[in-house]
Amino acid sequence: MTERLRLLVAAIAVVVFTLFVQRWPGGAVDSAPILTDAMGNPFTPSPSGILDTAAGLGLLLLGAWLFGRLAAGVRLPKISAYLVFGALIGPGALDLVTSEQLPNLRLIDDLAIALIALTAGGEIEYRLLRQQAKSVTLVALGRAVVVFAVLTPTIILAKDFFGFGLMETVQAELVIGLLVALFATATSPAVVIATLADLRARGPMSQLSLSVTVLWDLVLVVLFAVLVAIAGPIFARELGHASAGMHDEGWLIVALAKKLGGSFALGAVAGLGLTWYLRRVKAHLPIVVVLACFAIAIIADALHLKALIAALVAGLLLRNIWEEDSEPLFETVEELSLPVYCVFFAVAGARIDLALVEHLWPAAPCSRSCGPRSCGSGPARGRCSRVSRGRSRCGSRHP
């Protein structure tokens, strides 16, 4: 039996295993009646969603990994395979990972975002970034200009097709067009990092892709906040409501500065903490990395900061200031990446509403054809196309 066939059989076996378990009669009580124990105390049994989460996690991990290996065997990108696998076993298709289980897997999203951002920050070398500063800025700006220039008029002209025909004023149409174009320029650092790791790409082209993505993510936060602040009153007028949340520009700048500055500060503190641990203790790194990623996610959430930016800054500082100390940490991050990516992308795939996709699929090629291209010119184009092929929209927690 060839290796590919074995992989296919194994992947099918994992799915069949879970199908068998799900369809087996009996098991945990689905509804939540009140039961009585031997002492006569009433109690409610654990909901089946939470009891089944561990099995769902196991299926996502093993199944997505096997599917990814299978895809790699036929030269398809693993990330796409994880997404497709997640969509196949999700509530929209086989329902092996149910909608009750998905909220319990939110932990993985938080972990993945922080881990990916930490990795992204760790990949960016300041020395190379300085050399490429001009290229990075040109590519990011150029891309944005092209996307806005093409997509905004297209959305406005085809507003009926996209369901915005009810908008009466030009300002509202323009804001919608700008917002959609802004979303279209967004590139998930998760996908870029995962694709670079999958292809084991290293070099100026990878640095450029990553730097453009990271820079644009920071710019996106600012632009998005500005657009939402502008859009709020316009839509309120459009819908005839009193404009809620109309703030002046001064407040907006202060709020943005707090958000960004706070995220940077959190990242710096996280970087310092990790360096201290690496110098003084340096044991059980996998658990410490997971702990640190959770800590960044929790604290950012509590203080209304951006976990992605904080983890990015932590990674940047660790790589560029404390490089020698941080080598074992990044090795550990690399080890943890595979299971985290498998589950993250598979869960993202499981969350895709296939009915909605069926309805909205015509819009996807339109936005993607104007979408992110971080290509340089000439010889880099070949590697660029391999990077682009792996990209797709995913990640519900993208800023």
């Binding site: 039961l35 124990d37 196991g58 990994w65 595979l338």
Partner: protein, 440 residues
């Protein structure tokens, strides 16, 4: 937010407890006697749980269920992976004999005791309702704490052999406890009306399905391990995935996650090749961290309000361990050891007296895992009280051993592990038989 904080707190405490500094503390016999059973971590869990300080709320505990399932699966797989044919073949038969005697005596003594006292504690409960609790208390009494450092006064070969006997037969008892609990605890289950009753047919079906699940998982695991090769990230993924899949599937079906994982581990241990060795190392290196994490979770789950009846039950079980376990082990160890060694040379013997003979008095940490498994299968107040009883029994049995450890520490260097008189026709080198299962 509180849920995430709960995880952070638990993991931080677990990490501190396996740090180098803490390992240094464990070189002291008294400290190791105190902490080896996991009671310290359980106490921390009780303190930070909903019953005392409330740093971790009841709602957050429910969300930790998947973590508990994976923890039980991890423990089950750790135990199952030891059931490798070539290792078991090389063990002295005396270890198997000691384990068999302990299992039989525990089932008779503790089974009867648990049944009687549970009957007094829950007089109105039907037999089927008492059954899971009785099975838990009986299987929790099988085996003992495997730690021997606190009770080993001397480094003689005889003492080393006895320590090996304690650890080896204790490990075999742990396998029997997992098997027994997994097969028997689910013999009573809830019908459509929610009432507990015996379904022996279902129990047989359950055992068959669990075995089938385990074989399937073992085969998938073997293939996956071979595919992963030496890559640590892929090994981590395969391990987490397998444990979550097997334990999670068993839990979804209402079966025992520990039994399913243990059987899957046993299948893999006997089928997989060199890739398994790295896998095993990986699991064993995390043993302390996982045990610490798990004990803290157990402390948060248990109900401290067990009342006089619960305290009485725990005291009775601890007393029975004190009276029964040590003498039974000493008798069977000496008798079986003398019988079990083939060959012309005089058999290497055990010490005539040693504090190590008291080791079986202490309850095994596996008992906590079995208690948590019951709480997982039935999240009832009774199950949480029984977990509290199990933990209290462990604390009560550890207390006298701390005193024994103090006396052992005072005796160290005086060679009070009295060596037997040398046989007159002893051939050279008979007393220097190597350790580690070399009595074949």
């Amino acid at each position: 937010m509180k849920f995430f904080l709960a995880i952070l707190l638990i993991v931080t405490i677990a990490l501190l407890s396996v740090s180098a500094r803490f390992f240094r503390f464990r070189r002291s016999r008294i400290v190791v006697a105190l902490v080896s059973g996991g009671w310290l971590h359980v106490l921390v869990g009780v303190l930070i749980g909903p019953e005392v300080i409330g740093a971790v709320e009841e709602g957050a505990l429910a969300k930790l269920t998947p973590l508990l399932v994976i923890g039980l699966g991890w423990i089950g797989m750790t135990i199952g992976l030891q059931a490798r044919r070539e290792v078991l073949r090389e063990l002295p038969r005396s270890l198997f004999a000691c384990a068999a005697v302990d299992v039989a005596s525990s089932v008779v003594v503790f089974g009867l005791l648990s049944w009687l006292i549970l009957g007094m504690w829950m007089p109105d409960a039907p037999v089927a309702a008492r059954w899971p609790g009785a099975v838990l208390l009986t299987t929790a009494s099988i085996g003992w704490l495997l730690e021997t450092r606190s009770l080993r006064a001397s480094s003689t070969p005889a003492a080393a052999r006895l320590a090996l006997c304690v650890r080896g037969s204790g490990a075999l008892c742990a396998m029997a406890a997992v098997l027994g609990f997994g097969l028997l605890a689910h013999a009573s289950s809830r019908g459509p009306d929610g009432a507990l009753s015996f379904h022996w047919g279902d129990a047989v079906v359950m055992a068959s399905v669990t075995a089938l699940l385990a074989v399937m998982a073992g085969l998938i695991g073997r293939f996956a391990l071979r595919l992963a090769g030496g890559d640590r990230s892929e090994l981590l993924l395969v391990f987490l995935g397998l444990v979550a899949l097997v334990a999670g599937s068993a839990t979804s079906l209402g079966y025992s996650p520990m039994l399913a994982s243990a059987l899957a581990g046993a299948v893999m241990a006997n089928l997989a090749g060199p890739a398994l060795r790295r896998f095993e190392r990986f699991i064993l290196q995390a043993e302390y961290v996982v045990a610490s994490l798990f004990s803290i979770l157990a402390g948060m789950l248990l109900d401290v309000h067990i009342g006089l009846a619960g305290v009485g039950l725990a005291a009775a079980l601890a007393g029975a361990r004190l009276l029964v376990k040590a003498p039974v082990f000493a008798f069977s160890a000496r008798r079986q050891w003398e019988r079990g060694i083939p060959g012309p040379a005089p058999a290497p013997t055990l010490p005539e007296s040693s504090p190590l003979f008291l080791a079986p008095i202490r309850q095994a940490p596996l008992a906590i895992a079995l208690g948590v498994a019951l709480v997982l299968s039935e999240a009832s107040p009774m199950a949480r009280k029984l977990l509290g009883v199990v933990v209290l029994t462990g604390v009560l049995t550890s207390a006298p051993m701390v005193i024994a450890a103090m006396r052992t520490g005072a005796r160290t260097g005086r060679a009070d592990d009295r060596e037997p008189e040398p046989a007159q026709d002893a051939s050279p080198g008979a007393e220097s038989a190597p350790e580690g299962g070399a009595d074949r």
